[in-house]
């Protein structure tokens, strides 16, 4: 029995544009072990989100093509049918995406999102779902959780939306959590909060996580190992401490230099920091 939950080999993602074909992910391979946190770092447009979407089979087949192999727990996810995906998405692999507010249906309350997910995966009734929802919201330290259940996403702050999204992913008790830019759209204070929360959840729940971010501070704080992406390729990978301390690749060095002024261990640094 292998200890890797996710194993990706030779993943390529192509998008069709008006002017030609864009290779957004180019021959990417990595593995994620149980209880491990793997960080994927790289500048905007380097293909990080595309990896997350390809992994969950969420890319639109009319304007994109995916190649390579993606295994979850030794089972291939490529070519899975709709029913097969239903057992994986959400239930085994949870995900939070870049802009948390847009991830909620504007015509539904936060609570209804939980209800749908719990009913479909666990067959829970409304009452039971509400109890679970409250627990999940409290686990992510949502303030005024009871009120939030009846609120719409547009009534919450960005940080609260991100907490709700996290709770929604965790309520299904997945083995792996993919967090795509979990802090990107938040203000500085909320960024620190969410980073701390993720670190706590990780030790609490023993989740394997794929943390995707251009924020090296966040990655440095959370990830055991890191993969640095540039133009769709992984240019360097290794234990986070080692990569940050002795980068071998020129691009990694450049990236690190861009956020040197703030400590790489602090969650408050980012690629946007000025010298």
């Amino acid at each position: 029995m292998s200890i890797s939950v996710i194993e990706i080999r030779g993943l390529c993602v192509d998008y069709a544009l008006a002017s030609g074909v864009l290779r957004a992910v180019d021959d990417v391979s990595f593995t994620l072990s149980r209880q491990e946190v793997l960080g994927i770092a790289g500048e905007s447009g380097s293909g990080k989100s595309s990896i997350a979407l390809a992994l969950l089979g969420l890319l639109d087949s009319t304007d994109s093509r995916t190649r390579g192999s993606v295994d979850f727990d030794g089972q291939s996810l490529i070519g899975l049918d709709e029913a097969g995906w239903r057992g994986i998405r959400g239930r085994r692999i949870g995900a939070v995406f870049q802009s948390p507010r847009e991830c909620f249906n504007p015509t539904m309350t936060i609570g209804q999102h939980f209800e749908d997910a719990l009913r479909e995966h666990f067959g829970l009734s409304r009452q039971l779902a509400t109890t679970r929802t409250l627990e999940a919201l409290e686990r992510v330290r949502m303030p005024r959780a009871r009120e939030v259940i009846g609120s719409y996403a547009f009534e919450l702050s960005g940080g609260m939306c991100q907490r709700a999204a996290l709770a929604l992913a965790l309520v299904l008790e997945p083995a792996v959590l993919i967090a795509d830019e979990p802090t990107a759209s938040l203000d500085l204070l909320a960024q620190v909060d969410i980073a701390r929360l993720l670190a706590e959840l990780r030790t609490e729940l023993g989740l394997a996580m794929l943390v995707i971010s251009h924020d090296l501070g966040l990655i440095g704080r959370l990830a055991d190992r890191v993969a640095i992406m540039h133009k769709g390729r992984i240019v360097e990978t290794g234990p986070t401490v080692q990569v940050f301390r002795e980068p071998t690749d020129a691009y990694t060095r450049e990236l690190l230099a861009a956020c040197r002024p703030a400590s790489t261990r602090s969650s408050m640094s980012g690629t946007g920091a000025t010298a």
Binding site: A16, L17, A18, S19, G20, V21, T62, D63, S64, R65
Partner: protein
């Protein structure tokens, strides 16, 4: 910044997506079809049979080798009459939409550049006008006077200018908010002159789409009004008149009297709409290659 924007705008204008349009399969098909129909109706009547030659021996004949589309109740060749009818119908359609473009353009300019209260008032009026069914409006206009080609064109224009007005107004207002217009107004150059120079480039594409589609709808409106005897005088053949006068024959079995003029309308409108779609798609930033 302002320089960037203006060059960007004029480059867009020059690069009107002709190439993309020709690559658009349906639009190309529509363009060719329309071209054939226009050429046929311009030159056809000179070469084919005489559209006005009545012949008691050939009354209400079904389509055959000599009369492709059959003959009407006076024994006239329907093929020739459909070609001739196309001339008038297309003339009316294009002419009406040209008038509508001018009307709508002026209305949109005043509304878009005028003070807020005026804009509000004019938009309220526009909404109200839009809530009147086109046929009702057009029939009212037509019923209050003698039928005639010019009158019909004006009537169609009077019910078709609203879309143009909307676009022109929106573009004007957007343009007036851009930095470079604000800057030039601040530095004292005339807003009107600026608008004249920068509005057209920005507006050309959406306007072209709307006008194209409107011509198709004008063709249908012409046919409808003429069919109701409220359009072109009955003695001049247009597609609508052919249908109006063919109705009785069709009810007693001469289906060709209404099939062919109607098909001509449908083909022309389909062709025009395909061109409109092509223009719209060519301007769509989401347009994609096929993988």
């Amino acid at each position: 910044m302002s320089e960037d924007l203006s060059t960007w705008a004029s480059r867009e204008y020059r690069a009107l997506p002709w190439v993309a349009l020709l690559q658009h399969r349906l639009a190309f098909f529509g363009l060719m079809l329309l071209l054939v129909m226009v050429l046929l109706s311009i030159f056809g009547p000179w070469f084919g049979q005489d559209p006005d030659a009545a012949d008691a021996a050939t009354i209400d004949q079904a389509p055959s080798g000599t009369h492709l589309f059959g003959t009407d109740h006076l024994g006239r060749d329907l093929f020739a009459r459909v070609l001739l009818g196309g001339r008038l119908s297309m003339q009316v359609g294009v002419f009406a939409i040209l008038i509508a473009a001018v009307l709508g353009g002026l209305y949109g300019l005043v509304s878009g550049l005028g003070p807020r209260w005026l804009d509000h008032l004019m938009m309220q009026l526009l909404d109200t006008l839009l809530s009147i069914p086109v046929i009702l409006f057009a029939v009212l206009i037509q019923a209050t006077g003698e039928p005639g080609v010019l009158r019909l064109s004006i009537a169609i224009a009077l019910v078709s200018w609203m879309g143009v007005a909307r676009i022109v107004r929106t573009e004007c207002q957007q343009l007036m908010r851009t930095d470079f217009v604000l800057a030039s107004i601040a530095s004292g150059s005339g807003a009107l002159q600026l608008v004249a120079r920068h509005l057209l480039p920005n507006i050309a594409r959406p306007l072209l789409v709307v006008l194209t589609v409107s011509i198709g709808q004008a063709l249908i409106l012409e046919a409808t009004l003429s069919f109701l005897n409220l359009g072109v005088p009955a003695n001049i053949p247009s597609w609508g008149n052919l249908l109006g006068s063919g109705m009785r024959a069709a009810l007693s079995g001469a289906w060709w009297a209404v099939l062919f003029p109607g098909l001509a309308i449908v083909l022309a409108v389909v062709a025009i709409n395909f061109i409109g779609d092509g223009l719209r798609d060519a301007a769509d930033p989401r347009r994609r290659l096929r993988l």
